[in-house]
């Protein structure tokens, strides 16, 4: 977990950021990035993908989500719009089928305040995943 803050503005960094912006709102894994870029003739070495991704996280331009010990980490470009509005994304993981739901919900966001005010706990939505069953998997 070093701190590979980027000092140069390389083509690879640009391509990567471009792609992340183009899928803004969705979560992608390092593998997704590699696959997509390869298919589009702008391939980047996977080591570089991981290194730049990490540095973008350090720079606060990209968010990193850890869903599960055995799922790859997810990355998401932080839209300056939704960032300004302070929009918070919650993650629900179905233990049945593995599906991941992304929720933007004010009512859920309220629990952050509740936890803070009533329980002196500052919830970090980036690290927190709700586990349960999705529509199709509950029975």
């Amino acid at each position: 977990m070093a701190n590979p803050r980027s000092k140069y503005n390389t083509k690879q960094r640009e391509v990567l950021l471009e792609y992340l912006k183009s899928v803004s709102g969705r979560h992608v894994t390092a593998g997704d990035v590699c696959a997509y870029l390869k298919e589009h003739g702008t391939a980047i070495g996977q080591a570089t993908v991981y290194r730049r991704l990490e540095s973008l996280v350090d720079e606060g331009i990209v968010n990193k989500y850890i869903i599960d010990a055995n799922s790859p980490a997810c990355f998401e470009y932080i839209d300056s719009d939704s960032h300004a509005e302070g929009e918070i994304c919650f993650h629900c993981k179905c233990v049945g089928c593995g599906r991941l739901l992304h929720l933007h919900c004010d009512e859920l966001a309220a629990i952050i305040d509740h936890l803070y005010d009533e329980h002196s706990f500052r919830l970090d939505p980036k690290r927190t995943v709700f586990y349960g069953s999705c529509e199709n998997c509950m029975n």
Copy 2:
């Protein structure tokens, strides 16, 4: 992510649970378990450790914590005290000091209904851990 709910009560399961109880309050990794049991002449195959650990999580007897993508998962026995009849218990894990808070709170319980009614997601509080910072570690 299969569902290896245990149906038999084997010696291995007992040994594992025994150990987890003995370190109740601390969290241990699968590797810790293997190492400890080997040193104490009650070795269990590592595959079994992983399988039983997962089933104990399914049974709600043990919690699983994912602190970081590249750290091994942590497990912790859930004390039956905080397990009061039918009461719903939420777990908050401080990423700073590792402290684990058990919360019994109706307002939090309400999010289960909310997720179910509005988002068609059935939250499993036994599997879900809230990550963030506790009173002492936020700054």
